[in-house]
């Protein structure tokens, strides 16, 4: 395997056909396969959401029955969360980029990496297999309804349980890789910020996922063996399920967003031609977010009747998460200050990220405030907040990454102008869909309801029209990306990080010789860059 021919071939040319991919331990191929997989699931879940929005075009039944509606929002939530956004950026770009960025030939456990992907595929199949008797609980599987409903809860939760293994094993792989395989000279304080973000993400994956694993196992036990933990009839406590569930699922929110933050930290300095501002602050704030995220789960249960004191404590800690998050945002803004900004497509998505994520983050503080949350809990305000963070944050970050690393990943360039049109459509469409939902929420429109009062009709319709703009934007983006314009050079954006210092697409074994790193990755516009 190590003969020199592998350096003549890039990773895309090294074998053709399904088997050469599906059995490959090459981290780049695995990254690309994850990207395809999450892309497919994104489209599937997006279609479900388009149907949900279409249903809300008028009060009462528009196209689907109430039960189908329940199934649709469960499918949308479960697929988006467990199949798309949790593996998401970390598994796709994490796999593709981490070894390249740290100067390694692969992740430390290449076979384990492949198994993780297979486990992910198996989990996806199990989860989607539940469509035979589609689940109507919502993606959160709250008890006691999830114990009583006649739908296929066991299969979905078992699918999520299996997916958890993929997540844990990928996390372990990344952590050990970053500890053991950094190139000589690549000290922790020179490590690219995407790697820092991926490191924090991996910690969360490793430490939070087992808890949801046991929770879902117990839920399966409740349905199958009649365990009583979450069943009030047996002396159990349904709110305990919520505690267990959010002990994972709140850190999972940061599993979703942290890698996207890492991407922004990579894209901004390149297109501002300035060193990243506050490198250490950004790096450590990732770890701070990871740490604090374990201590805030209770803010999902302010209205569940848990103790007042606990509510206050969780509320205060929730506000504390805003601090490391804001540190990142201010450092990004300062990175751009007086920079020589080039508005490439990737940069536009990153700028949109900062704008939209800030809205999403700040509205999260409304929900973290006890008095406001009593009014806003389980309304469309929550839906809007969550989507501003998840789409405005993570998905825009992912799109930024797809455009930014497109030349490296495929060895081709794309049509920047058309891609920017797609960006404008997506940006406008997204805001038209979700901004009205903030207003709907404050007016009292509850989430997950099939029907609504006629006075909400205008905002609901506006939101639905937005999905059409958004849909056209997605299709145009996909079209642009599927029609490359020509071959890419090794480093079209004059980036300084390691992955751009090799041919595009990268050779199968990445580095002929393991490089030695002498300087910061972010020395843009300085002497070091002139010499490089």
């Amino acid at each position: 395997m190590t003969d020199h021919h592998d350096f003549d071939k890039n990773y895309l040319e090294n074998g053709k056909g399904f088997k050469s991919w599906f059995f490959s331990v090459d981290h780049k191929r695995l990254g690309v396969m994850y990207l395809w997989a999450i892309g497919v699931f994104f489209v599937l879940a997006a279609i479900a959401s388009f149907l949900i929005r279409f249903e809300h075009l008028s009060p009462g039944q528009t196209i689907v029955s109430a039960q189908t509606y329940n199934v649709l929002f469960t499918l949308h939530g479960a697929v988006m969360v467990f199949l798309f956004i949790v593996p998401g950026v970390a598994a796709s770009f994490g796999n593709f980029l981490i070894p390249l960025m740290i100067g390694a030939r692969d992740v430390i456990f290449p076979k384990l990496n492949l198994y993780s992907f297979w486990v992910y595929c198996a989990g996806s199949i199990i989860l989607l297999g539940s469509l035979l008797a589609p689940v109507d609980t919502g993606w959160t599987f709250y008890t006691p309804y999830s114990i009583d409903t006649g739908t296929n809860v066991i299969m979905v939760t078992f699918g999520v349980f299996v997916l958890g293994f993929s997540s844990i094993l990928t996390g372990i792989n990344f952590i050990v890789t970053m500890h053991k395989l950094r190139a000589p000279g690549l000290t922790w304080d020179r490590l690219p910020l995407f790697c820092w973000a991926a490191y924090a993400t991996s910690l969360l994956q490793v430490l939070a996922t087992p808890v949801v694993g046991i929770t879902l196992l117990l839920l399966i036990g409740e349905r199958y063996f009649g365990l009583g933990f979450f069943d009030p009839a047996k002396g159990g406590d349904p709110v305990l399920f919520q505690h267990f569930f959010w002990f994972y699922s709140h850190p999972a929110v940061y599993i979703m967003i942290l890698p996207a933050m890492g991407i922004i930290s990579e894209v901004l300095p390149v297109f501002s031609r300035k060193p990243i501002f506050g490198y250490k602050a950004i790096a450590y704030s990732s770890l701070a977010i990871a740490l604090i995220s374990f201590l805030v789960w209770g803010h999902h249960m302010f209205t569940s009747g848990q103790s007042k004191l606990i509510n206050i404590i969780f509320s205060v800690i929730t506000f504390a998460v805003a601090v490391p998050t804001a540190i990142k945002v201010f450092n990004w803004l300062w990175t751009m200050y007086k920079g020589s900004i080039e508005l490439s497509t990737a940069m536009l998505y990153s700028l949109a990220f900062i704008f939209l994520f800030t809205i999403g983050g700040l509205t999260g503080l409304f929900l973290g405030a006890l008095a406001a949350d009593v009014h806003l809990h389980d309304t469309y305000f929550v839906v809007a907040h969550m989507h501003y963070v998840m789409i405005g944050g993570t998905v825009f970050g992912l799109f930024s990454a797809i455009h930014f690393w497109y030349p490296k990943m495929w060895g081709k360039m794309f049509d920047e102008f058309k891609a920017k049109i797609a960006f404008v459509l997506i940006f406008i469409g997204f805001n038209v869909v979700f901004f009205p939902q903030f207003i709907l929420g404050t007016q009292g429109m509850p989430r997950r309801y099939f029907n609504y009062s006629p006075e909400f009709a205008f905002l609901h319709q506006l939101s639905t029209y937005g999905t059409w703009i958004l849909g056209v934007g997605f299709i145009l983006m996909l079209y642009v990306l599927c029609r490359p314009t020509g071959p890419a050079s090794a480093n079209p954006y004059n980036s300084l990080s390691l992955e751009w210092q090799m041919p595009s697409p990268p050779p199968t074994l990445n580095f002929k010789e393991i490089p030695t790193v002498n300087d910061s990755t972010y020395a843009y516009g300085t002497k070091i860059e002139q010499e490089a």
Binding site: M1, T2, K19, F23, V25, R105, D106, I108, F109, P110, K111, L112, Y115, I168, L169, G171, I172, N173, I175, V176, H179, K180, L181, V206, L207, A208, T209, P210, V211, G213, I214, T215, L217, L218, G221, F225, G226, L227, G228, F229, K234, G235, G236, D237, L240, F244, L509
Partner: protein, 214 residues
């Protein structure tokens, strides 16, 4: 060809054992692989602790809520069988530790004997547990009887699952020792397999007093 390999790897899960990397395919030097595999295993053990952590948290919450139920439930468990199982598991942890030590001195025969003893201990543990379970079932007590038995069956059941996984892992390692796969220069798999077995033991050391001696 690769498909056949894939099917074969399903039939022989030893090929699927995550942390074991075949040296000849690795891009990295053996020392790095060894220390990395150990680090990976420790991280995996952390996830196991959190998995059981959920059950321990449930135990704490419900015991505070229903103290009498827990006392009565605990009294109904067979302390003798539980104690025997505790001794057996601790003993098997010791034999695994000897195996890990022995392979570093190239004493393959001793490694094999020790892993055999460990597997026999695990089997006795499972048989004892089987009698405990069936005795409870025969008296009409099951996982849904009350919260204490929910905890009892869920936590010992999940632990039992880990005993079985540990037996499979050690069984594969044992098979490979007969194929001459390990030596004092290549014993990563035995070491991390041993680590896993210690976890199985450790969890039981907490479960035993919590459930039987409450």
């Amino acid at each position: 060809m690769q498909l056949m390999k894939f099917i074969k790897s399903l039939a022989y899960p030893s090929e699927m054992l995550p942390p074991i990397i075949e040296e000849e395919e690795s891009h990295f030097d053996p020392e790095t692989v060894h220390s990395s595999a150990k680090m990976g295993m420790w991280l995996f053990l952390a996830t196991e602790l959190l998995l059981f952590g959920g059950l321990f948290a449930a135990y704490a919450i419900f015991r505070a809520k229903y103290p009498v139920m827990f006392l009565e439930g605990s009294d109904s468990l067979d302390v003798v069988l539980g104690s025997v199982n505790t001794v057996i598991l601790i003993f098997s942890s010791w034999t695994v530790a000897i195996a890990v030590q022995a392979i570093q001195e190239n004493k393959i025969k001793l490694v094999q004997v020790m892993i055999w003893i460990t597997l026999i201990c695990a089997t006795i543990f499972a048989i004892n547990k089987y009698f405990e379970y069936t005795y409870k079932f025969s008296k009409g007590i099951g996982p849904g009887t009350d919260i204490f038995y929910s905890i009892y069956f869920a936590s010992t059941g999940v632990h039992m699952l880990h005993v079985f996984i540990g037996m499979i892992v050690l069984g594969i390692i044992l098979k490979k020792t007969y194929q001459g796969r390990y030596s004092k220069d290549n014993f990563t798999a035995i070491e991390i397999g041993g680590l896993y077995w210690h976890l199985v033991d450790l969890v039981w050391i907490y479960l035993f007093p919590l459930l039987y001696l409450a």
